[in-house]
Protein backbone atom coordinates (compact mmCIF):
# COMPACT_ATOMS: atom_id res chain seq x y z
CA UNK A 1 0.00 0.00 0.00
CA UNK A 2 1.52 3.29 -1.10
CA UNK A 3 0.99 6.19 1.28
CA UNK A 4 1.35 9.70 -0.12
CA UNK A 5 2.79 12.74 1.67
CA UNK A 6 -0.66 14.17 2.43
CA UNK A 7 -1.60 11.01 4.33
CA UNK A 8 1.62 11.14 6.33
CA UNK A 9 1.03 14.84 7.13
CA UNK A 10 -2.50 14.01 8.30
CA UNK A 11 -1.29 11.11 10.43
CA UNK A 12 1.35 13.34 11.96
CA UNK A 13 -1.10 16.22 12.55
CA UNK A 14 -3.52 13.91 14.37
CA UNK A 15 -0.69 12.43 16.44
CA UNK A 16 0.56 15.92 17.28
CA UNK A 17 -2.95 16.98 18.29
CA UNK A 18 -3.22 13.92 20.54
CA UNK A 19 0.13 14.65 22.17
CA UNK A 20 -0.74 18.32 22.70
CA UNK A 21 -4.17 17.79 24.22
CA UNK A 22 -3.36 14.56 26.07
CA UNK A 23 -0.37 15.99 27.90
CA UNK A 24 -2.09 19.36 28.30
CA UNK A 25 -5.06 17.79 30.07
CA UNK A 26 -2.86 15.92 32.55
CA UNK A 27 -1.33 19.08 34.00
CA UNK A 28 -4.67 20.86 34.31
CA UNK A 29 -6.32 17.85 35.94
CA UNK A 30 -3.50 17.53 38.49
CA UNK A 31 -3.80 21.25 39.28
CA UNK A 32 -7.59 21.13 39.62
CA UNK A 33 -7.41 18.00 41.75
CA UNK A 34 -4.75 19.55 43.95
CA UNK A 35 -6.81 22.72 44.41
CA UNK A 36 -9.98 20.78 45.22
CA UNK A 37 -8.12 18.53 47.67
CA UNK A 38 -6.75 21.59 49.50
CA UNK A 39 -10.21 23.17 49.48
CA UNK A 40 -11.55 20.00 51.15
CA UNK A 41 -8.93 20.30 53.86
CA UNK A 42 -9.54 24.04 54.23
CA UNK A 43 -13.31 23.65 54.62
CA UNK A 44 -12.83 20.96 57.26
CA UNK A 45 -10.46 23.27 59.12
CA UNK A 46 -12.68 26.34 58.97
CA UNK A 47 -16.23 25.63 57.72
CA UNK A 48 -17.31 29.24 58.33
CA UNK A 49 -14.93 30.39 55.54
CA UNK A 50 -16.32 27.89 53.01
CA UNK A 51 -17.83 30.63 50.79
CA UNK A 52 -14.49 32.37 50.25
CA UNK A 53 -12.73 29.01 49.89
CA UNK A 54 -15.13 27.84 47.15
CA UNK A 55 -14.76 31.17 45.37
CA UNK A 56 -10.98 30.90 45.49
CA UNK A 57 -11.16 27.32 44.26
CA UNK A 58 -13.37 28.32 41.32
CA UNK A 59 -11.18 31.25 40.29
CA UNK A 60 -7.97 29.26 40.82
CA UNK A 61 -9.19 26.37 38.70
CA UNK A 62 -10.29 28.73 35.92
CA UNK A 63 -6.79 30.24 35.75
CA UNK A 64 -5.03 26.88 36.15
CA UNK A 65 -6.65 25.46 33.05
CA UNK A 66 -5.49 28.29 30.76
CA UNK A 67 -2.47 26.23 29.70
CA UNK A 68 -4.76 23.35 28.75
CA UNK A 69 -6.86 25.77 26.64
CA UNK A 70 -3.65 26.74 24.78
CA UNK A 71 -3.11 23.01 24.15
CA UNK A 72 -6.69 22.69 22.93
CA UNK A 73 -6.19 25.55 20.47
CA UNK A 74 -3.03 23.95 19.04
CA UNK A 75 -4.72 20.53 18.87
CA UNK A 76 -7.72 21.97 16.99
CA UNK A 77 -5.52 23.90 14.55
CA UNK A 78 -3.51 20.72 13.91
CA UNK A 79 -6.65 18.69 13.34
CA UNK A 80 -8.71 21.04 11.22
CA UNK A 81 -6.36 23.45 9.41
CA UNK A 82 -5.28 22.58 5.87
CA UNK A 83 -1.50 22.25 5.77
CA UNK A 84 0.68 21.96 2.64
CA UNK A 85 1.70 18.50 1.53
CA UNK A 86 4.58 19.45 -0.74
CA UNK A 87 7.27 18.09 1.56
CA UNK A 88 7.74 15.38 4.17
CA UNK A 89 9.05 18.19 6.40
CA UNK A 90 5.46 18.91 7.39
CA UNK A 91 5.26 15.53 9.09
CA UNK A 92 7.90 16.70 11.58
CA UNK A 93 6.37 20.17 11.86
CA UNK A 94 3.05 18.71 13.05
CA UNK A 95 4.73 16.43 15.57
CA UNK A 96 7.03 19.19 16.88
CA UNK A 97 4.11 21.60 17.34
CA UNK A 98 2.23 18.97 19.35
CA UNK A 99 5.27 18.08 21.47
CA UNK A 100 6.05 21.72 22.20
CA UNK A 101 2.52 22.55 23.35
CA UNK A 102 1.83 19.26 25.11
CA UNK A 103 4.90 19.35 27.34
CA UNK A 104 4.68 23.13 27.61
CA UNK A 105 1.24 22.92 29.18
CA UNK A 106 2.17 20.38 31.88
CA UNK A 107 4.45 22.52 34.05
CA UNK A 108 2.40 25.71 33.75
CA UNK A 109 -0.82 23.96 34.68
CA UNK A 110 0.64 22.04 37.63
CA UNK A 111 2.47 25.15 38.82
CA UNK A 112 -0.57 27.40 38.73
CA UNK A 113 -2.50 24.85 40.77
CA UNK A 114 -0.10 25.28 43.72
CA UNK A 115 -1.03 28.90 44.61
CA UNK A 116 -4.72 28.12 44.09
CA UNK A 117 -4.46 25.24 46.57
CA UNK A 118 -2.41 27.32 49.02
CA UNK A 119 -4.88 30.23 48.82
CA UNK A 120 -7.70 27.87 49.87
CA UNK A 121 -5.64 26.69 52.85
CA UNK A 122 -4.65 30.26 53.68
CA UNK A 123 -8.26 31.45 53.68
CA UNK A 124 -9.16 28.78 56.21
CA UNK A 125 -6.31 29.95 58.41
CA UNK A 126 -6.80 33.71 57.97
CA UNK A 127 -10.28 34.48 56.50
CA UNK A 128 -9.80 38.25 56.77
CA UNK A 129 -6.91 37.97 54.29
CA UNK A 130 -9.17 36.49 51.57
CA UNK A 131 -8.93 39.53 49.26
CA UNK A 132 -5.12 39.93 49.24
CA UNK A 133 -4.72 36.14 49.11
CA UNK A 134 -6.96 35.88 46.03
CA UNK A 135 -5.04 38.68 44.30
CA UNK A 136 -1.68 37.14 45.17
CA UNK A 137 -2.89 33.74 44.00
CA UNK A 138 -4.10 35.17 40.68
CA UNK A 139 -0.86 37.06 40.03
CA UNK A 140 1.22 34.00 40.94
CA UNK A 141 -0.91 31.69 38.78
CA UNK A 142 -0.86 34.09 35.85
CA UNK A 143 2.95 34.31 35.90
CA UNK A 144 3.08 30.50 35.95
CA UNK A 145 1.31 30.52 32.57
CA UNK A 146 4.24 32.32 30.88
CA UNK A 147 6.09 29.09 29.94
CA UNK A 148 2.89 27.78 28.34
CA UNK A 149 2.72 31.00 26.29
CA UNK A 150 6.31 30.33 25.12
CA UNK A 151 5.21 26.85 24.04
CA UNK A 152 2.16 28.25 22.26
CA UNK A 153 4.29 30.81 20.41
CA UNK A 154 6.76 28.09 19.34
CA UNK A 155 3.93 25.84 18.16
CA UNK A 156 2.35 28.62 16.10
CA UNK A 157 5.69 29.66 14.56
CA UNK A 158 6.34 26.01 13.67
CA UNK A 159 2.92 25.60 12.09
CA UNK A 160 2.78 28.84 10.14
CA UNK A 161 6.41 29.32 9.03
CA UNK A 162 7.17 29.08 5.32
CA UNK A 163 9.40 26.04 4.73
CA UNK A 164 9.59 26.45 0.96
CA UNK A 165 13.01 25.53 -0.41
CA UNK A 166 14.34 24.07 2.82
CA UNK A 167 15.96 20.61 2.53
CA UNK A 168 14.30 17.69 4.30
CA UNK A 169 17.62 16.71 5.93
CA UNK A 170 18.73 18.08 8.34
CA UNK A 171 15.79 20.53 8.72
CA UNK A 172 13.52 17.75 10.06
CA UNK A 173 15.83 17.35 13.05
CA UNK A 174 16.01 21.10 13.69
CA UNK A 175 12.21 21.33 13.70
CA UNK A 176 11.78 18.35 16.02
CA UNK A 177 14.56 19.69 18.26
CA UNK A 178 12.84 23.07 18.45
CA UNK A 179 9.60 21.48 19.66
CA UNK A 180 11.42 19.36 22.23
CA UNK A 181 13.56 22.28 23.45
CA UNK A 182 10.65 24.59 24.25
CA UNK A 183 8.34 21.81 25.43
CA UNK A 184 10.69 20.24 27.97
CA UNK A 185 12.35 23.46 29.13
CA UNK A 186 9.03 24.95 30.23
CA UNK A 187 8.12 22.12 32.62
CA UNK A 188 10.55 23.14 35.37
CA UNK A 189 9.76 26.84 35.02
CA UNK A 190 6.03 26.29 35.41
CA UNK A 191 6.35 24.02 38.44
CA UNK A 192 9.13 26.13 40.02
CA UNK A 193 7.13 29.34 39.67
CA UNK A 194 4.15 27.60 41.22
CA UNK A 195 6.16 26.46 44.24
CA UNK A 196 7.19 30.08 44.95
CA UNK A 197 3.62 31.37 44.52
CA UNK A 198 2.34 28.59 46.79
CA UNK A 199 4.67 29.54 49.62
CA UNK A 200 3.84 33.21 49.13
CA UNK A 201 0.12 32.50 49.67
CA UNK A 202 0.83 30.33 52.72
CA UNK A 203 3.19 32.98 54.12
CA UNK A 204 0.60 35.74 53.70
CA UNK A 205 -1.89 33.68 55.66
CA UNK A 206 0.70 32.92 58.33
CA UNK A 207 1.94 36.50 58.67
CA UNK A 208 -0.37 39.07 57.00
CA UNK A 209 2.01 41.97 57.73
CA UNK A 210 4.54 40.52 55.30
CA UNK A 211 2.08 40.51 52.37
CA UNK A 212 3.69 43.22 50.21
CA UNK A 213 7.24 41.92 50.70
CA UNK A 214 6.10 38.38 49.96
CA UNK A 215 4.36 39.39 46.72
CA UNK A 216 7.45 41.31 45.57
CA UNK A 217 9.78 38.41 46.45
CA UNK A 218 7.42 36.00 44.72
CA UNK A 219 7.49 38.05 41.52
CA UNK A 220 11.31 38.34 41.66
CA UNK A 221 11.67 34.60 42.24
CA UNK A 222 9.20 33.73 39.50
CA UNK A 223 10.99 36.03 37.04
CA UNK A 224 14.27 34.17 37.65
CA UNK A 225 12.45 30.82 37.38
CA UNK A 226 11.36 31.73 33.85
CA UNK A 227 14.92 32.24 32.56
CA UNK A 228 15.67 28.56 31.78
CA UNK A 229 12.45 28.47 29.75
CA UNK A 230 13.71 31.55 27.89
CA UNK A 231 16.92 29.66 27.08
CA UNK A 232 14.76 26.85 25.70
CA UNK A 233 12.78 29.32 23.62
CA UNK A 234 16.00 30.91 22.34
CA UNK A 235 17.44 27.57 21.22
CA UNK A 236 14.11 26.75 19.56
CA UNK A 237 14.18 29.98 17.59
CA UNK A 238 17.78 29.30 16.52
CA UNK A 239 16.80 25.83 15.37
CA UNK A 240 13.71 27.06 13.52
CA UNK A 241 15.29 30.04 11.81
CA UNK A 242 18.83 28.80 11.10
CA UNK A 243 19.11 27.10 7.72
CA UNK A 244 21.50 24.20 7.19
CA UNK A 245 22.74 22.96 3.80
CA UNK A 246 21.20 19.77 2.44
CA UNK A 247 23.05 16.61 3.42
CA UNK A 248 22.43 12.89 3.38
CA UNK A 249 24.69 12.38 6.42
CA UNK A 250 22.97 11.69 9.71
CA UNK A 251 25.48 13.53 11.92
CA UNK A 252 24.31 17.15 11.31
CA UNK A 253 20.70 16.11 11.83
CA UNK A 254 21.51 14.36 15.09
CA UNK A 255 23.51 17.38 16.27
CA UNK A 256 20.46 19.63 15.76
CA UNK A 257 18.11 17.15 17.43
CA UNK A 258 20.62 16.74 20.26
CA UNK A 259 20.72 20.51 20.74
CA UNK A 260 16.97 20.57 21.33
CA UNK A 261 17.03 17.58 23.69
CA UNK A 262 20.03 18.99 25.58
CA UNK A 263 18.38 22.36 26.14
CA UNK A 264 14.98 20.89 26.94
CA UNK A 265 16.25 18.51 29.60
CA UNK A 266 19.00 20.84 30.76
CA UNK A 267 16.60 23.67 31.54
CA UNK A 268 14.09 21.64 33.55
CA UNK A 269 16.34 20.89 36.52
CA UNK A 270 17.68 24.43 37.09
CA UNK A 271 14.18 25.91 36.85
CA UNK A 272 12.94 23.50 39.48
CA UNK A 273 15.98 24.23 41.65
CA UNK A 274 15.39 27.97 41.35
CA UNK A 275 11.77 27.40 42.29
CA UNK A 276 12.76 25.46 45.41
CA UNK A 277 15.21 28.24 46.36
CA UNK A 278 12.55 30.90 45.88
CA UNK A 279 10.02 28.84 47.82
CA UNK A 280 12.30 28.56 50.85
CA UNK A 281 13.22 32.26 50.66
CA UNK A 282 9.57 33.32 50.66
CA UNK A 283 8.91 30.98 53.59
CA UNK A 284 11.87 32.41 55.50
CA UNK A 285 10.74 36.01 54.88
CA UNK A 286 7.25 35.20 56.13
CA UNK A 287 8.83 33.93 59.36
CA UNK A 288 11.28 36.81 59.81
CA UNK A 289 10.52 39.99 57.88
CA UNK A 290 13.45 41.89 59.39
CA UNK A 291 15.89 39.59 57.58
CA UNK A 292 14.17 40.08 54.22
CA UNK A 293 17.07 41.87 52.49
CA UNK A 294 19.62 39.25 53.58
CA UNK A 295 17.30 36.42 52.61
CA UNK A 296 16.69 38.00 49.19
CA UNK A 297 20.44 38.30 48.63
CA UNK A 298 21.02 34.65 49.57
CA UNK A 299 18.08 33.64 47.38
CA UNK A 300 19.46 35.44 44.33
CA UNK A 301 22.96 33.94 44.81
CA UNK A 302 21.43 30.47 45.23
CA UNK A 303 19.33 30.96 42.13
CA UNK A 304 22.33 32.13 40.10
CA UNK A 305 24.25 28.98 41.07
CA UNK A 306 21.24 26.77 40.26
CA UNK A 307 20.93 28.49 36.93
CA UNK A 308 24.53 27.77 35.91
CA UNK A 309 23.73 24.20 34.84
CA UNK A 310 21.07 25.58 32.51
CA UNK A 311 23.71 27.86 31.01
CA UNK A 312 26.01 24.85 30.49
CA UNK A 313 23.18 23.12 28.62
CA UNK A 314 22.67 26.21 26.48
CA UNK A 315 26.40 26.40 25.65
CA UNK A 316 26.41 22.73 24.59
CA UNK A 317 23.27 23.29 22.52
CA UNK A 318 24.85 26.30 20.79
CA UNK A 319 27.97 24.21 20.06
CA UNK A 320 25.78 21.47 18.58
CA UNK A 321 23.97 23.97 16.37
CA UNK A 322 26.87 26.11 15.20
CA UNK A 323 30.10 24.12 15.71
CA UNK A 324 29.37 20.42 15.08
Amino acid sequence: MAIDIQTWVNVSAFSGAGIAMGLGAIGAAVAEGNTAASANYAVSRNPSASGEIFKSMLVGQAIAESAAIFALVVAMVLMFSPFPSDSLLWVFVMLAAGISMGFGAIGAAIGSGFPAAAACEGMARQPEMSGPLATNMLIGSAVCQTPAIFALVTSFILMFKDYTGLPLAPTWAAILGAGISTGLSTIGSGVGGGLIARESCLGMARQPLTATTLTNTMLLGQAVTQTPAIYGLLISFMLIFSSSPETAALTPAMALLGAGICMGLGASGPALGIGITGQSAVKAISRNLTAASDITRVMLIGMAVSESTGIYAMVISLCLIFVV
Binding site: A29, G33, F54, A62, L72, M76, L138
Partner: protein, 128 residues
Protein backbone atom coordinates in the same frame (compact mmCIF):
# COMPACT_ATOMS: atom_id res chain seq x y z
CA UNK B 1 -22.68 27.66 46.98
CA UNK B 2 -24.40 31.05 46.79
CA UNK B 3 -21.04 32.86 46.74
CA UNK B 4 -19.96 30.83 43.71
CA UNK B 5 -23.08 31.86 41.79
CA UNK B 6 -22.50 35.50 42.72
CA UNK B 7 -18.85 35.27 41.62
CA UNK B 8 -19.85 33.66 38.34
CA UNK B 9 -22.54 36.26 37.71
CA UNK B 10 -20.13 39.12 38.44
CA UNK B 11 -17.30 37.96 36.17
CA UNK B 12 -19.45 36.45 33.41
CA UNK B 13 -21.56 39.59 33.04
CA UNK B 14 -18.42 41.75 32.91
CA UNK B 15 -16.81 39.48 30.30
CA UNK B 16 -19.94 39.48 28.15
CA UNK B 17 -20.43 43.24 28.48
CA UNK B 18 -16.80 43.87 27.43
CA UNK B 19 -17.17 41.48 24.48
CA UNK B 20 -20.38 43.19 23.31
CA UNK B 21 -18.78 46.65 23.54
CA UNK B 22 -15.72 45.40 21.63
CA UNK B 23 -18.01 43.75 19.05
CA UNK B 24 -19.59 47.12 18.28
CA UNK B 25 -16.18 48.80 18.15
CA UNK B 26 -14.92 46.21 15.66
CA UNK B 27 -18.21 46.44 13.76
CA UNK B 28 -17.72 50.18 13.34
CA UNK B 29 -14.11 49.58 12.23
CA UNK B 30 -15.43 47.13 9.58
CA UNK B 31 -13.62 44.25 11.34
CA UNK B 32 -16.76 42.14 11.67
CA UNK B 33 -15.09 38.65 11.75
CA UNK B 34 -12.87 39.88 14.64
CA UNK B 35 -15.88 41.17 16.59
CA UNK B 36 -17.90 38.02 15.92
CA UNK B 37 -14.95 35.81 16.88
CA UNK B 38 -14.42 37.67 20.12
CA UNK B 39 -18.08 37.40 21.03
CA UNK B 40 -18.23 33.69 20.15
CA UNK B 41 -15.10 32.92 22.18
CA UNK B 42 -16.42 34.90 25.15
CA UNK B 43 -19.76 33.06 25.14
CA UNK B 44 -17.97 29.72 25.30
CA UNK B 45 -15.56 31.04 27.94
CA UNK B 46 -18.56 32.00 30.08
CA UNK B 47 -20.19 28.58 29.57
CA UNK B 48 -16.91 26.92 30.58
CA UNK B 49 -16.65 29.05 33.74
CA UNK B 50 -20.26 28.23 34.69
CA UNK B 51 -19.57 24.52 34.16
CA UNK B 52 -16.47 24.68 36.41
CA UNK B 53 -18.69 26.02 39.20
CA UNK B 54 -21.33 23.39 38.42
CA UNK B 55 -18.76 20.62 38.95
CA UNK B 56 -17.30 21.98 42.19
CA UNK B 57 -19.77 20.36 44.62
CA UNK B 58 -19.01 16.96 43.08
CA UNK B 59 -15.35 17.34 44.03
CA UNK B 60 -15.97 18.01 47.69
CA UNK B 61 -15.48 15.26 50.26
CA UNK B 62 -13.65 13.02 47.79
CA UNK B 63 -10.15 11.54 48.01
CA UNK B 64 -7.29 13.20 46.10
CA UNK B 65 -7.26 10.34 43.59
CA UNK B 66 -11.00 10.56 42.93
CA UNK B 67 -10.79 14.33 42.59
CA UNK B 68 -8.02 13.91 39.98
CA UNK B 69 -10.17 11.59 37.85
CA UNK B 70 -13.24 13.80 38.29
CA UNK B 71 -11.17 16.81 37.20
CA UNK B 72 -9.84 14.91 34.19
CA UNK B 73 -13.38 13.93 33.12
CA UNK B 74 -14.62 17.46 33.67
CA UNK B 75 -11.76 18.88 31.58
CA UNK B 76 -12.47 16.51 28.68
CA UNK B 77 -16.19 17.37 28.65
CA UNK B 78 -15.63 21.12 28.92
CA UNK B 79 -12.84 21.10 26.36
CA UNK B 80 -15.02 19.28 23.87
CA UNK B 81 -17.34 22.24 24.24
CA UNK B 82 -14.49 24.76 23.89
CA UNK B 83 -13.40 23.00 20.70
CA UNK B 84 -16.64 24.08 18.97
CA UNK B 85 -15.77 27.79 18.49
CA UNK B 86 -12.18 26.96 17.47
CA UNK B 87 -13.36 24.51 14.80
CA UNK B 88 -15.98 27.04 13.67
CA UNK B 89 -13.28 29.71 13.34
CA UNK B 90 -11.02 27.38 11.37
CA UNK B 91 -13.81 26.27 9.03
CA UNK B 92 -15.81 29.51 8.65
CA UNK B 93 -14.43 32.82 7.43
CA UNK B 94 -17.10 34.69 9.43
CA UNK B 95 -15.02 34.22 12.59
CA UNK B 96 -11.42 35.31 13.12
CA UNK B 97 -9.40 32.52 14.79
CA UNK B 98 -7.18 34.83 16.86
CA UNK B 99 -10.23 36.72 18.13
CA UNK B 100 -11.97 33.46 19.07
CA UNK B 101 -8.89 32.32 21.02
CA UNK B 102 -8.69 35.71 22.76
CA UNK B 103 -12.39 35.43 23.59
CA UNK B 104 -11.84 32.01 25.17
CA UNK B 105 -9.64 33.70 27.77
CA UNK B 106 -12.01 36.60 28.44
CA UNK B 107 -13.21 35.35 31.85
CA UNK B 108 -9.62 34.78 32.97
CA UNK B 109 -8.66 38.25 31.72
CA UNK B 110 -11.59 39.84 33.54
CA UNK B 111 -10.62 37.98 36.74
CA UNK B 112 -7.04 39.18 36.54
CA UNK B 113 -7.85 42.76 35.59
CA UNK B 114 -10.45 43.04 38.37
CA UNK B 115 -8.00 41.90 41.05
CA UNK B 116 -5.15 44.00 39.68
CA UNK B 117 -7.41 47.06 39.55
CA UNK B 118 -8.43 46.49 43.19
CA UNK B 119 -4.78 46.03 44.18
CA UNK B 120 -3.73 49.31 42.54
CA UNK B 121 -6.74 51.10 44.02
CA UNK B 122 -6.02 49.88 47.57
CA UNK B 123 -2.33 50.85 47.24
CA UNK B 124 -3.28 54.37 46.12
CA UNK B 125 -5.74 54.70 48.97
CA UNK B 126 -3.00 53.67 51.42
CA UNK B 127 -0.67 56.31 49.95
CA UNK B 128 -3.32 59.01 50.41
Amino acid sequence: MESIKETQKKYCSRALFTAIVLFFVFYLCKLIPVGKGLLLGTIFSVINFVLIGFGLPMKMGKTRKNVFFLSLGSIFIRFLLLAIPIVAAIKLKQFNLVAVVAGLFSVQLVLLSDHLFNLILSKRQKQL
